[in-house]
């Protein structure tokens, strides 16, 4: 073959080692598909001696990460260090400035600095690819940028964090509480020692930022996502959800509501027999609604060595085939400043879990508040009876705005007979 695409890999953790494995095991097939060989010419990691389960002896070991971005024998820098600042950011910036293509799986970096980096890539005539940053091996970035490019996208939503989906699945299957299941997930290596990024929804919100920019042609804007994690979900909520024929899923939802975009990341109730309800464990799923394609779904493993490395290599093959697109599907100058939807625009059914003193009149008070905000009750369940003691009451409502339910919840929380601020969750019938 006439030429090679020469790559330098920074970061040899799970994903980096996976990329090496794919290129080593499928090199010949990939070259046939890509039209040229993809060869690793340099690698960098903090610890040169660690056994990573792959033979790295044939590659140049680059001690100095900064030097990777200027190496003459590197056409593409693969950034798999992670983190929204520090080494990762410097490496990506310097690589682009030095006219190296960049392939990265770094959603935090893209969510925070995606716009500036896209501009830098454009200015230097190189490509910034990040299929692996969202939903592991699922080719959702490509689907949005290319496969659905004939559509006006109306909504994109999904289960974007495998750790949370695993915890919620486990809570439902075992009846245990959040803290308990989290601890076990940490012991098993499914959750990080510091689980904040996952369980507080930050990681999924990073991914939603990227999807939303691609779907709506707007500047990526992490700051405008309304984020609620899963820490407050109790075994009691999971039980009530079951009774309502639903499951609780941490959903990223971005919608175009009459030209204004709503971005949220929060636990929602979804019907058990809806496509979203059946996505379990560590799987991710992304739904796309377009005006011509109607609704399509992509599902697969959202993390892990093989799937994530598969996405990195797909990006490399695109580059080897000579296919470059603007990072967010449009030249940076054409990405719009989004108009953001307000709490008034975001409408859904609601689940309200109240801990109330079991005494006459409580429900009348709560109902009156809901009525005063124009919110109509769909169902009410009380579990057990224990006069004078706190009991759980769950109310579901017909569609109402987020503004209305928030105002009503505040009033309800202030009632004497209500023991704690109610848990309010969105109901989405996907």
């Amino acid at each position: 073959m006439a030429s090679n695409l020469r790559i330098g890999i920074a970061g040899l953790g799970t994903v980096g080692a996976g990329v090496v494995k794919i290129l080593q095991s499928h090199g010949a097939d990939i070259a046939r598909r890509a039209g040229q060989d993809i060869v690793i010419t340099a690698v960098h990691a903090r610890d040169a001696k660690k056994d990573r389960g792959v033979d790295l002896s044939q590659y140049g070991w680059e001690k100095d990460i900064a030097a990777l971005s200027t190496r003459a024998n590197v056409d593409v820098v693969v950034e798999l260090i992670g983190g929204e600042d520090g080494d990762a950011k410097a490496l990506v910036e310097n690589s682009l400035k030095n006219k190296k293509h960049v392939v990265t799986a770094n959603k935090a970096l893209l969510a925070k600095h995606g716009l500036a980096l896209a501009k830098l890539a454009e200015d230097n005539g190189v490509s910034l690819n990040f299929e692996a940053s969202v939903a592991g091996g699922i080719p959702i970035i490509k689907a949005l940028r290319e496969g659905f490019a004939g559509n006006k996208i109306e909504g994109i939503y999904g289960i974007l964090n495998g750790t949370c989906n695993y915890i919620l699945t486990e809570m439902r299957e075992t009846g245990r509480d959040f803290g308990d299941v989290l601890k076990e997930a940490q012991e098993k290596g499914y959750a990080e020692a510091d689980p904040t990024f996952d369980v507080d929804g930050i990681d999924a919100a990073h991914k939603l930022t990227i999807l939303s920019a691609l779907a709506f042609g707007v500047k990526p804007d992490f700051a405008n996502i309304d984020i609620t994690g899963i820490r407050k979900i109790t075994a009691n909520d999971i039980e009530f959800a079951k009774e309502l024929g639903c499951r609780i899923k941490l959903l990223g939802i971005a919608r175009d509501i009459g030209g204004r975009i709503a971005q949220s990341l929060e636990p929602c109730l979804v019907p058990i027999d809806a496509p979203m309800g059946t996505v379990e464990g560590v799987f991710n799923a992304v739904f796309v609604e377009g005006d011509f394609v109607d609704r399509a779904m992509l599902e697969g493993r959202g993390a892990g060595q093989g799937p994530t490395a598969s996405a990195v290599v797909a990006d490399l093959i695109d580059l080897a085939r000579g296919y470059y697109l603007p990072a967010f599907g449009l030249p940076v100058s054409q990405l719009k400043d989004a108009q953001w939807a307000g709490a008034k625009d975001i409408v859904s059914g609601q689940y309200i879990n109240l801990t109330v003193t079991d005494q006459p009149g409580v429900i009348a008070d709560v109902s009156a508040i809901l009525r005063n905000f124009g919110i109509s009750i769909e169902s009410m369940i009380q579990r057990g009876r224990d006069p004078g003691q706190p009991v759980s009451v769950v109310i579901t409502t017909h569609e109402c705005s987020r503004e209305a339910i928030r105002a009503a919840s505040a009033k309800i929380a202030a009632l004497k007979s209500v023991a704690a601020p109610p848990t309010v969750l969105r109901i989405e019938r996907f």
Copy 2:
């Protein structure tokens, strides 16, 4: 914008009119994404006067279909006529010979002549794109050719015909028989007056031919698909499937079994709670198994104006972006002649529906035959009891080869107490 991609559309049925609608309504957005305008310069259909719900007055009407392939102001010919020979084939061939790119939704043409057409495109330095030929708006061709290109694909399977899936869903929900539901589907326009292509599995097999070539890098070969349609599925089978916790789905399955490829198209039992079991009505779903990505699924509307036109336009946008790939992901010279798996290699659980005379000894005879072929019984259900009369007995087996079950079925059919050849269906636990 500096340049235009000029297209000529042949065939202005549902899909053709849809393409016009997308380009008319989203022209400006598409130009921003594609980097140039995509303009319709010529259209052709048999009847120039028919109202198609779109304004065609601004386009050159080309009366002579043959002239479309030589028009100077056409860069891309969009073939939406259909049919594996005749006008469609001539148009695609001539267009490629005249160095026009071709975009088509014609699965029959590709399944039968895909290899020759891919060669013709290659020899003339133009592109042959066909995202719309499989699974409507789902970008499965792109996913195989690009998104999963870092993997060795081990299997691809799915629900590829919306008409059959609709009929099977309807049969289950209403308890009615095949003929009855088909008739209604025809009246509603969900099935053709001549339903052969759909219900006998031909249409889905065309699609599987294309997917299999892309997945395994082999020459498309429709002749090597073992095809069984859904005509013989009865309400009785649907009932038994329910009792077994399964649904019956018409599945296209292509697998790499130790370097040999098995392609089949047949109704199968799948568990109701497996991802494949929940794909209902006119929806299509395609599952891909790759050695690194593990399993991914793409689901969406498999037909209809909007989704199919969305896929055609995605192909046009790729072309406008200057992105051409070999039709089947590899240069034609590198597509392999597949080694085909035999009936011995294809292994699965089996469902056997027997109509037997209700008398002692029948089951002993059947069991003995199965044992003689090394087939082990998993479960047996008899419905009702009516001594001396025919009753249905369903046996499910553990995994055995297609060769074994076929030989055993022939022996079972020859038993005096068995009233008719048994219905044998594959059980797949996707």
